[in-house]
Amino acid sequence: MATVTSNPPVAAPLGSSPAGPFTVRIEPPRGWFALHLRELWDYRELLYFFVWRDVKVRYKQTVIGILWVVLQPLLTMLVATLFFGRLAKLPSQGLPYSVFCFAGLVPWTYFSSSLLNVTNVVVENQRVITKVYFPRLILPVSAALSGLVDFSIGFLVLFIYTLAFGIHPTFAILFVPVLLLLAILTVLGVGLWLSALNALYRDVRYLIPFIIQFWTLASPVYYSSQLVPQRYRWLYGLNPMAGVIDGFRWALTGRGPAPSSVLIASVVMVLFAVVGGLAFFNRMEGSIADRV
């Protein structure tokens, strides 16, 4: 792992090491965990450019552009409301089912599409990876962040929709950014593993649709987590998106109990996933350019 120091090394290995302002030492990789936050910060403009590129290209490629971002969760919500709300009559925590479902779909859509993008980002950028150095971590982070533009548009539509039902935001809405952060960390915690594995093994991408389908059913998108018996709630919360979606719904509408046990379990789970994902990604980072 190469290290960057802003000062020249104290004891230079070869006598006359010049006091350069920017010194890099290149050595074989060692250790499991070497996170260079300072270096990430130095490359923040590149992070911005990657996000900018993703967003720009995405809106140029789809014919209806922004409209698609609005239509996708809206149509899903309408169909779900018809079948799960009207016909199956699933309970919806005292909210109109369409609001309940829409409030779950917006964070869920961010999560599932970002997870897909993060998984593919290393493979999609393999040409750049084999030709230029930058901290590889920038790629999954940029993929997780570029989904926020879609999310913001979806959130705006959701907010207006909620107001139209006469549900006014309470102080709880201040928690939205916190829950969003938790969603981003969940994407990274899982995505870092998957993107490194995807670069190393060609068959990982076939797993993704299954993982996302499985995960949708295990998250309170269409049904309420209140259906889960109280004593198993914490177990349910090991799915971090359960905490995110429950929390998000509560933060937006101010209705129902503030999520506690589920959310705490989710936060703990996310922290473990992120730390593990960072270590794994860092470990694989060095060999990615040799393998893709």
Partner: protein, 416 residues
């Protein structure tokens, strides 16, 4: 003497050929782990090769260093390690200053984006700051001669336009240390000249540059010092003229020695395992004076008794014409001999003064002539006969071979 900005010590890079999961499927890796859980920790039986072996060098500030060598000699691997794209297996390097690397033209270009957008994106990926790109933007566009098309998506560009824009962005990268790999050979002739000129400006501008190229003309124009890598090892590090002439003399396609790779295991009755060329002092050589004998050494393995087989050799010139053929049964006056199982080493010598100056390749085959071929080594081994010590170069004589024949000249006493 200016200060060193790049120092490396014993830089080595090993690649694995048979990685666990080399099929590239997670399924296979998991299956293997389930079958033998401890195999995760076993790394012994993987085949490896060294792309770079123990390279130590020092580059001083403002120096323009050329890097030459055959394909696969480790030039690009060295650049990739210095630019941190890949990590060394052993050794270390220290770099003082910001590094920009140009390993291809158009790094990071996206076809959907316009020329302007791509200039910013590619510039940022190559390591420029946004303000820096903004400041140089007009210069980039006019260098690329694309003023009219800068807001057109690059997917509508011709390949020439694409390359011009890509190089223009790269040419305005101004790091303290610039690593360049073979990007000079782009675009039409005029643009190539412009690129070379720009490289010259960068070099004269006091920047430290490492330049990889097969274009020896460009190397000798731009560099003062050249490093020659061969099979991953640093073969020569000296002033440009000395290295280029040594390199040309060796002829980078000529190889004095070939050993069958361990992975290549034909199951025939005969296996030729190595072919090598030696000079009279017993050293491997692929360069011979005109008057020097060429010794060829062939090692082979007989795995089953054969009633008739010859180890034959053909010497081909650079046009592919067979100049001579010879076999291990020549001195017996037959075309093949019985062979018993075992390992053998055979050698023959082409006398000095036999071959005309030029390049030759060697084909070795174990066969029963016109009946059956057991094993063939296509021209893996090659050598060059120089004009030195050859009369052919003095009087410019013609001929595929240049033996000095014995003439007998007597006074003619009969016709008086």
């Amino acid at each position: 003497m200016s200060k060193p900005v790049i120092q490396t010590a014993g830089i080595s890079k090993r690649y694995r050929r048979g990685l666990p999961g080399s099929s590239g499927l997670l399924r296979d890796s998991l299956a293997r782990t389930l079958r033998s859980p401890l195999s995760v920790f076993r790394r012994a039986n993987q085949e490896t090769f060294w792309a770079l072996k123990d390279v130590s060098l020092e580059v001083r500030e403002g120096e323009v260093l050329g890097l030459i060598g055959r394909n696969g000699s480790g030039k690009t691997t060295l650049l990739k390690i210095l630019s941190r794209i890949t990590q060394p297996t052993a050794g270390w390097a220290e770099i003082h200053g910001r590094v920009g690397s140009l390993l291809e033209v158009g790094t990071g270009f996206h076809p959907e984006l316009t020329g302007r957008e791509n200039a910013y994106l590619s510039g940022a990926i190559l390591g420029m700051k946004r303000q820096e790109i903004a400041r140089k933007f007009d210069a980039i566009v006019s260098f690329a001669e694309l003023e009219k098309f800068i807001d057109t998506p690059v997917k509508h560009y011709s390949s020439g336009m694409y390359v011009r824009l890509a190089f223009a962005v790269a040419a305005h990268l101004e790091p303290e240390i610039l690593l360049v790999d073979e990007v000079l050979a782009v675009g039409d002739i005029n643009f190539q000249k412009k690129c070379l000129g720009r490289m010259g400006d960068i070099a004269r501008g006091g920047r430290t540059v490492i330049l990889v190229s097969h274009n020896l003309g460009a190397i000798s124009r731009l560099c003062e010092r050249v490093i020659w890598l061969d099979y991953g090892e640093l073969k020569m590090d000296a002033a440009v003229a000395a290295v280029i002439s040594a390199y040309q003399l060796q002829g980078f396609t000529h190889r004095a020695q070939w050993t069958r790779p361990a992975s290549d295991t034909p199951n025939g009755e005969v296996r030729i395992t190595s072919v090598s060329l030696k000079s009279p002092d017993g050293q491997y050589s692929s360069l011979f004076r005109g008057d020097q004998p060429v010794t060829a050494e062939i090692k082979y393995q007989i795995r089953r008794a054969l009633s008739g087989c010859q180890i034959g050799t053909r010497i081909l010139n650079s046009e592919g014409v067979v100049v001579l053929s010879t076999s291990d049964a020549d001195h017996l006056g037959v075309s093949a001999t019985p062979k018993e199982p075992g390992r053998y080493q055979a050698a023959f010598q082409i006398p000095g003064g036999m071959l005309a100056p030029g390049s030759y390749s060697v084909v070795v085959a174990a066969h029963l002539p016109q009946r059956h071929v057991y094993d063939v080594v296509e021209p893996e081994v090659a050598f060059e006969v120089t004009e030195e010590g050859s009369l052919a170069s003095l009087d410019g004589r013609l001929g595929l071979v240049a033996p000095l024949l014995h003439w007998e000249t007597l006074e003619d006493t009969e016709t008086r």
